[in-house]
Amino acid sequence: MNSFLMRSWLARALLFAFSVIIAAFFVTPLLWLITAPFNTQANLAVTIPSNPSLANFEAVYNNKFAMRALFQNNLIIGGGVMVLVAGVATMASYGLSRTHVPGRDVLVYVLILFSSVVSGTAAMVPIFLLVFRLGLIDTYAGVILVMTGGLLPSAIFIMRDFIDSIPRSYEEAALVCGASSLRVFRDVALPMVRPGVVVVAIWAFVNAWGAFLIPSVLLRSPDRMPASIASYSFYTEAGTPNLTLLSAYAFLYTIPVLVLYLIVNWRFGFRFFGGIKS
């Protein structure tokens, strides 16, 4: 009996220790991200700054290249991808959900399969050639189109779940009321799938926000580089990061995404996470 209690106590202690290690693994970088930017002499250690200052932010603010990357280029690329992916995915998945095309489900699954198996990295050379032929190298449009293409299959897959969950009778009622198909989509279907549109839009924005590879291959001029590439301006020429400034820049880099989440949480309450709202 005693040994049984002992063993269960030991098991719980081990589980606890294990959880602590896992938690530390994920929490420490976040702690560093919060503390380091306010430390004028930041290193890789997590230390609460004895003399917190905003000097790092001032230095970052004076780096015009990095600031434009973050507050102009990233917003243009992220916003463009967000609007295109959400718009096209909503209409495409509505069409796929509401019409009877033979082989429709097969088509959707093949799309998903291809987008997850054939990654953007593997297709980079043909994509580059295609964009080059289209004359879209070193343009926002080229980056936005390529990223939209990469995100669309998954976005359509997510949206279809939302649209399939809406009873047809809402749209049928509008049809009988005298509305045209386009009007039914605008007045009835679209407002009802809005939570799904928001999920897909945010997901697309976050993906575009953090993207590195596609912009680094398709963009040339420093004026158009997004923040993920601009962060290299805080490395020395030998490739050593200036942690002090880099941490402040990373801090600013995360803020728009956080703000977006908070706004959505406030407007929609995140009730749509975990699938379908009843």
């Binding site: 009622a173 509008a174 049809l175 009321c177 045209s180 009007r183 007045d187 407002p191 009802m192």
Partner: protein, 362 residues
Amino acid sequence: MTQITFEHVVKRFGSVTAVNDVSLTVGDGEFVALLGPSGCGKTTTLRLVAGLEFADSGRVLIGERDVTRLPPRARDVAMVFQDYALYPHMTLLENIGYPLKVRGVGKQERVERVTEVAQQLQIGDLLDRRPGQISGGQQQRASVARAVVHQALCFLFDEPLSNLDAQLRLEARAFLKHLQHELGVTTVYVTHDQAEAMALADRIVVMNFGRVMQIGAPLEVYRRPANTFVASFIGSPPMNLLAGTVDLGRGMFRLNGEEPAIDMSALFRRLNGKLTDGQTITLGVRPEHLMPQIEPSPGAIPAQVYAVQPMGGEVLIVVRVARKLVSVRLFRDEPPDLPHEVWLVPDLNMSYAYDADGNLLQ
């Protein structure tokens, strides 16, 4: 003049024929109920009128116009759905006014007409609420209001009462019948509840497996079911059906080889020439047309009492006849004092015989 006409309409879903060669006419201002078990094609028939499904062959006419290939918005019908289909993101004012908005009616007139209809349906003070904030009965009225707010050519109801509790359903039933009378608009009403169809409709269309089994006024269908399917579907409890063989020479009916044979010469005389000796028929008698007696008599069917159920205004007695359960209805409140062995005297004027295919012999 809005009559709805079906001419040999067929609708298939894959290998299933949902509507199989249906022809019927709903007269101007008439209230017709489509009645049948689930999967019988009644809802598909209604959706063919609305334009939510298109016929594979045959024609659908609203008034004089062939609408077989027309989309819903070209048909000018109004429909109430089983789940009401009120748009959750719109207020009741916007919901009820939606058919007007789509038709380009100005905002001012829209508000006036919606308010008028809503007051008539006693939901006038809920117009700024959303569907999620009102009760099921109010939602039902709101969906009816959306249907009547513009003068459609006909009303289509798809089981509009099935989501209400029993008490509300009775109220809504009377309300719908009253409303249809007042407006005088041609109405097609789908239900699986035979009592609802009887109570509401001017005529009932009984359907099964996509086919029309019988069309007639409620009492006509109740009194003289055209086949055993209608007999067993209409009435609560339904008509008693007893299979047996005919002995024409002696005027006797033998219940599935059971003894004794029963004298039915009066019924056989009425069906003069329709029966052959030794033919297997099904005898159909409504529960209220069986009289239980405590003594045997010619033409009485021997039975054993199984259960006596007082219902308030009537007494329902279930008895066992030739190993089958048979219902007997007495219009009295006090249950009678019956011995275990009883004899049932059928009213042969109200009894019917069906052939081996289940069709009425007459």
